[in-house]
């Protein structure tokens, strides 16, 4: 119990301008979807946006705990690589699973249905009268529907990619209003919210997420549309760099995901792995393996990959690689026990983010151009806003997205920016807490929707009913 007495007369709205209305915040991303209560500092529920699909029964399984080797299980994502929802059959179910099943307390079954009050007699002759049965079914359906509208008490704030299509926005609106029956909702673009999470209304937001990276200028709490720049340089691109790195390593490194390993014996560095692989009596889908590999790669990113900071020279400069070879490296043990010291390679894998000419060879489709490197994105984004805003934006650079957590990223970005805009004061704001960086947009949404002044913004049910789903385009600009 807190020792100091809490002044409980009035919630201290005057201090931080908060006014909680039990709103929910949903932040769907390509790699993971986050949901939680507004006003909290981390989302309560975080699920991978990948879900399990079993073709034979046509069931979808949501949540990490279901993504296990299983017959006929296929791993799918309800989003496309643009972070725009693609599968509108699954997405609402997925979200509902998070918002209702994982966030709300279990609701007791209605007394009429829980079986305790059933009339045994009626049960006996239930099959006889068809009319009664249909009527009952109809009533049941209605009841079910009513129960399905489980978010009737919670306003909902949903985030979206800045380039979200208006079709997707309207679809989201329909789901929120029709399927869940929320009293009010709001759609907000991730850069705005990331800026809010950093405590800024005006910022240049650099979001290095899973499937792509975007650089967007936010002015006074609104996205400047012309400034929106995006490129595939994100977590997945980095993963393919690492895959290519494994391919080109000497000896080749096999990427065996953890689920395949039955047991392993420790081996020396660079020695071939000694592990017994698990055998499954059924076919494992490629998508599942890929998903599992991605988990290993994320671990590799977290612990090995680093961004070359630019000292003593740029990575591509003569001699830099030789210099790095003399520096201490990092050892990584693959799930199968193979281990190796990584030195200059771990810098080279990430260098392509800044310098397209360095990096490991990728298949044509994944290769990036100079315009897609992060410095070019920043330049292009700034070029597309008014000159007067640029110095201010450079003084408020907000870095977010889980891939920005790679070691040295911020230092490198700072060096790049100083090199690009000498004479301008540059300040990078990157949350120190890992969770804030990973869930930047969600945290911003949590702040926004618990602000007292935000309640005038919500699109209410009445407004929706008067205007139809098109209202979202009018209001959430």
């Amino acid at each position: 119990m807190a020792q100091q007495p809490l002044s409980s007369a009035v919630p201290p709205t005057d201090i931080y301008g908060g006014d909680e209305v039990s709103a929910l915040v949903l932040d769907p991303g390509y790699c993971s979807t986050r949901a939680g209560w507004a006003g909290e500092d981390v989302p309560k529920s975080i699920l991978p946006s990948f879900y399990g699909h079993i073709g034979s029964t046509n069931t979808n399984l949501f949540g990490d705990e279901y993504l296990i080797p299983r017959e006929g299980l296929e791993v799918r994502n309800y989003m496309n690589r643009d972070s725009v929802v693609e599968d509108w059959d699954v997405a609402p179910k997925f979200w509902e699973n998070m918002l209702v099943k994982r966030l709300q307390p279990e609701r007791p079954t209605a007394p009429g249905k829980n079986g305790l009050n059933d009339d045994p007699k009626k049960d006996g002759e239930g099959d006889v009268s068809m009319d009664g049965a249909t009527a009952e079914a109809a009533a049941e359906a209605q009841e079910e529907q009513e129960q399905e509208k489980a978010l009737q008490e919670n306003p909902l704030l949903v985030t979206e990619a800045p380039w979200n299509t208006s079709k997707a926005r309207e679809k989201t609106t329909e789901v929120i209003m029709e399927t869940w029956g929320c009293p009010a909702f709001w759609l907000s673009r991730t850069p705005t919210l990331s800026a809010f999470a950093a405590g800024k209304a005006t910022a240049l937001v650099i979001d290095i997420g899973g499937s792509n990276t975007n650089v967007t200028a936010v002015h006074d709490g609104m996205v400047l549309k012309r400034s929106i720049q995006r490129s595939p340089v994100g977590g997945l691109w980095l993963s393919s760099q690492i895959r290519s790195m494994f391919e080109h390593a000497e000896p080749k490194v096999a990427l065996t995901p953890t689920y395949l390993i039955e047991n392993k014996t420790p081996v020396d560095a660079l020695a071939p792995a000694q592990a017994r692989l698990r055998k499954f009596p059924f076919q494992i889908a490629d998508s599942f393996r890929r998903y599992e590999e991605e988990r290993v790669l994320t671990e590799f990113k977290e612990s090995v990959v680093e961004v070359w900071r630019g000292n003593p020279g740029p990575y591509r400069a003569q001699g830099t690689e030789d210099f790095i070879k003399t520096q201490p490296g990092r050892v990584f043990e693959m799930p199968d026990g193979y281990n190796q010291m990584w030195r200059e390679q771990r810098y080279r894998a990430s260098e392509g983010m800044f310098d397209e000419s360095v990096g490991y060879p990728l298949p044509e489709a994944e290769r990036i151009t100079k315009e897609q490197t992060i410095p070019s994105l920043i330049r292009a984004a700034l070029e597309a806003v008014d000159v007067d805003l640029r110095p201010n934006l450079l003084g408020n650079v907000v870095v977010t997205g889980a891939t920005s957590l790679i070691n040295g990223f911020n230092d490198r970005l700072n060096n790049e920016l100083i090199g690009m805009y000498p004479g301008v004061k540059i300040k990078i704001h990157a949350a120190g807490l890992t969770s804030e960086r990973r869930f930047g947009a969600w945290v911003g949404g949590s702040i926004l929707s618990s602000l007292g002044t935000f309640h005038q913004m919500w699109i209410s049910r009445k407004e929706y009913e008067e205007n139809g789903p098109g209202i979202v385009e009018k209001r959430c600009k």
Partner: protein, 629 residues
């Protein structure tokens, strides 16, 4: 079981028996001693504790009593309700959100009731019929709390116009009404935040010939009617409208000051200038690293220069203040006695001290933050003071040399030091420090410039005027601006030279007239002789004595001329004019001897005879320059 029992069991010697005394006799007393402080322990705790025996185990026994009740907590816990509230700032104020509110007494009860009401209404209002909404609203009006944040919703006022007004006031060749409407809509939507307005500005002129729907979009996309509007275009159009509508609503002459200023500002929005400014800003952003660094260093330099010039001005002002002496109009009889002088001395000393302190404080105040600058200033001041002191001390020295006893105001102490360790100064050093030796000096401080004034005032009025004229001709002010030792010395020399010249000319003129007189006499005599020979031309006789008189007049007027303006020429002409007369060297000598000895040392090129005026003028030029410096 105590430790002693344990020891018994294990057949260990009693710890106290090591000291030699029999164990039995000690046992009870020890037990008492041990148990005394731990009497509060019970059960197992006591057993464990006693295991330690003589060396008590370092276990802090837990006090198993509950925390004291907090006094503040005696009241029943506060009740909180999930209370619905509205937000009147909303476009749709019927939205009912709920937040937790503490219930307080009677009002709380009401609220609870009403809350139940509210939830009922909420639930039933789901398929919102108009009626229900109205009911909710009605209810809300008297009972449901309005959000405390509603008041923060402020909207800027955006000018509005009717079709009529548009036609009369706002027509523009460049802007269609549709586009203007679109602009105003955006301005309203984005609360006059220009970056956003410009960012979202996507005007598609409506298709003209009814090809609107099917492929209209495409044609629009292919043929953009006009190039994109810049932010300045948008701004100038908006300000134009705003200003005109303002004037239309309220004639200019009834506007308040603030309104009028706003109107003027909007009316005179200069898009061109804004564009130029932005171009500059763009250039500034595009600077290379070197340029940026250079600019930075230049800015620093400018700052330093400004600071230095300020300091310099300050010093100079102070110096002038020091040099400035008040022209006393007062009766000086009070300080004619030595007693009076002593008093004056005291006064001056006090005033001087005050002044110094003030100037020091002033320097500190001027740069309160910039410590370095202040320090520098202080240093500079110290230097200035040191200089001043050096000068003063030189003066002092001279006074000391003559009178010995009188002390100068600024520091007898310092003088003592100087006397104690006065080094032998070489001639050069003497010059540097301004040490001079005098045979005789008047007592008390003397202003150097006063010396010159004295020289001046000793002369007659006419002479003063003449001297002034000469000085004017040489472009030298009759009063020295900065009477340093060197300048006064030069000035004295110049003065002497001018005097000598004037004297010489006087003598020359006198001789001239005498000569002419004699010549006239001679002519008369010759005429007489010739008349003695024969009286042929009496007119000639008559005219001859006349001539010298007129000549004399002429020379007099010439002298006047010289007085009023032309000098160096006149002087130069006087020399050759005087030369052939033979008497000249004699009169010229004093000029050379007195005036130009030093000048001759400096400029050895000029011969002794050719010099007088020209050399004089060059040296005086130099002194003039020095004065200007």
């Amino acid at each position: 079981m105590s430790s002693n029992d344990l020891r018994d069991v294990l057949n260990l010697p009693d710890s106290s028996s090591a000291s030699g005394t029999p164990g039995g006799s000690h046992r009870p007393s020890k037990k008492q001693r041990l148990s005394a402080p731990r009497s509060n322990l019970k059960g197992l705790a006591r057993e464990v504790q006693s295991l330690g025996g003589d060396n008590p185990i370092a276990i802090v026994p837990e006090v198993s009593s509950f925390k004291k009740r907090r006094l503040a907590n005696r009241k029943p816990a506060a009740r909180w309700d999930l209370a619905p509230f509205r937000n009147s700032a909303r476009d749709d104020p019927s939205l009912m959100l709920r937040h937790w509110r503490r219930r307080d007494g009677q009002h709380g009860l009401q609220q609870q009731e009403q809350q139940q009401h509210g939830t009922n209404a909420d639930a039933s209002a789901q398929p919102t019929t108009e009626q229900n909404g109205a009911q909710v609203k009605q209810e809300g009006d008297n009972e449901i709390e309005d959000s405390a944040f509603a008041k923060f919703n402020v909207r800027p006022s955006i000018p509005q116009y009717t079709d009529e007004q548009y036609k009369t006031h706002l027509k523009s060749d460049d802007w269609s009404k549709e586009e203007t409407d679109y602009l105003m809509e955006l301005v309203t939507d984005f609360d006059v935040r220009w970056p956003l307005i410009w960012d979202r500005y996507e005007w598609n002129p409506p298709a003209t010939n009814g090809v609107a729907d099917a492929d209209g979009d495409e044609s629009k996309a292919v043929v953009p009617k006009q190039e994109a509007r810049s932010m300045e275009d948008l701004k100038s159009r908006y300000y134009e409208i705003a200003a005109k509508m303002m004037a239309a609503q309220k004639p200019i002459h009834v506007m308040s000051q603030a309104e009028f200023e706003l109107h003027e500002m909007m009316l005179h929005f200069n898009a061109q200038q804004e564009k130029a400014r932005k171009d500059f800003a763009l250039n500034a952003l595009k600077r290379s690293r070197e340029e940026a660094r250079e600019e930075e260093s230049l800015l620093l330099e400018v700052k330093r220069i400004l600071a230095r010039s300020e300091r310099f001005n300050e010093e100079r002002r102070e110096l002038y203040n020091r040099l400035d002496f008040p022209q006393s109009e007062q009766d000086i009889s009070s300080i004619k006695t030595s007693q009076g002088l002593q008093n004056l001395l005291q006064q001056l000393m006090a005033a001087d001290k005050n002044k110094k302190r003030r100037s020091l404080m002033g320097a500190d105040n001027a740069h309160p933050a910039n410590a370095a600058a202040a320090a520098a200033a202080a240093q500079a001041q110290a230097q200035a003071q040191a200089q001043a002191q050096a000068q003063e001390s030189s003066r002092r020295e001279s006074t000391v040399a003559s009178t010995g006893a009188t002390s100068t105001p600024t520091g007898g102490k310092k003088k003592g030091n100087q006397q104690a360790e006065r080094p032998k100064l070489t001639e050069k050093e003497e010059q540097v420090y301004g040490v001079s030796h005098h045979d005789r000096l008047t007592s008390g401080p003397v202003f150097r410039s006063e010396k010159i004034n004295k020289m001046f005032t000793h002369k007659s009025n006419q002479q003063q005027q003449r001297i002034n004229n000469v000085l004017l001709e040489l472009d030298i002010p009759p009063k020295l601006v900065m009477p340093t030792v060197a300048t006064t010395q030069q000035f004295e020399q110049l003065f002497a030279a001018v005097n000598a010249l004037l004297d010489a000319r006087k003598v020359a003129d006198k001789l001239d007239t005498e000569l002419k007189l004699e010549q006239a006499k001679k002519a008369e005599r010759e005429a007489k002789e010739s008349s003695n020979h024969g009286e042929e031309d009496p007119a000639q006789d008559k005219s001859n004595p006349d001539m010298p008189v007129t000549k004399g007049d002429e020379s007099a007027s010439k002298e006047d001329n010289a007085e009023t303006g032309t000098t160096s020429e006149a002087q130069e002409t006087t020399e050759p004019a005087a030369d052939p007369n033979g008497e000249e060297p004699g009169t010229q000598d004093p000029v050379e001897g007195e005036g130009s000895k030093e000048a001759a040392a400096e400029e050895s090129s000029g011969g002794p005879h050719k010099r007088s005026a020209s050399v004089l003028s060059t040296t005086s030029d130099k002194s003039a320059k020095r004065q200007k410096k």
